[in-house]
Amino acid sequence: MLTSFEHYKYRLVKHFNSVGDKPKRRLYSFKSTKSNQTYHVWVECYPMNFYGIKFHLKSHSESELKYNVLTNLKEARPVIFTCIKIMLDIHREIDNSSFGFIGSGSIGTLIKKSKTGELIKVDIDEDDFNTKRYRRYKQIMITYISRAVFEHVENIDKSAYMLIRKSELEKDPNLIDKINMYFSDTYNNFD
């Protein structure tokens, strides 16, 4: 059961202006005290005050699979919590913000303990549907983000999750449809 909220210290590295089809973005960075690995967190700023959150290992920055690769570092929880802290900073800074993320399908070899305690390797290549990452993110969101403040909405087929600020939904009941429409028209792969 998730009860504590341990996270790493992070910093805002840089603001990036919109270039081509890339939205305005912010880059945050933090270092894991467990693995000594540095992570990059990208916050993408879309219309309708919608912010997409993504993260990957800095060492995977140039990889096309940076959001899919299994790291086997066993530190998902504090890493996810750090991303949530960044999201909450924006929540406080921008009082009409809503958020979203995708639980990318995992690719790679998972190293885990068998029932007998032996380390075993399992090859994984998930598609977009209801991914392992997505299921974990969803449970964390339900635990830590009140449905009184944000409407939690999901698309399991694409493993996509959105937190739509209820105060904005009251102003515009079609906000969820508008955001869906924007992403469906702008990003063919919805990623």
Partner: protein, 49 residues
């Protein structure tokens, strides 16, 4: 013999998704319900917001 093409139980895979006015596939989102939350067995809510 056979089943009427208008039978509502039939599934037409082409109509399983909606399109945006611009002709792109619309990825629809659904609200996470109380039932969904119950399935997740989240017993302790530690809301940060």
């Amino acid at each position: 013999m056979g089943t009427s093409k208008t039978n509502s139980n039939q599934t037409d895979t082409k109509s399983n998704f909606k399109l945006t006015p611009n002709g792109n596939r619309l990825y629809e989102f659904t609200k996470v319900s109380d039932e969904d939350v119950a399935k997740l067995r989240v017993k302790i809510h530690a809301y940060l917001v």
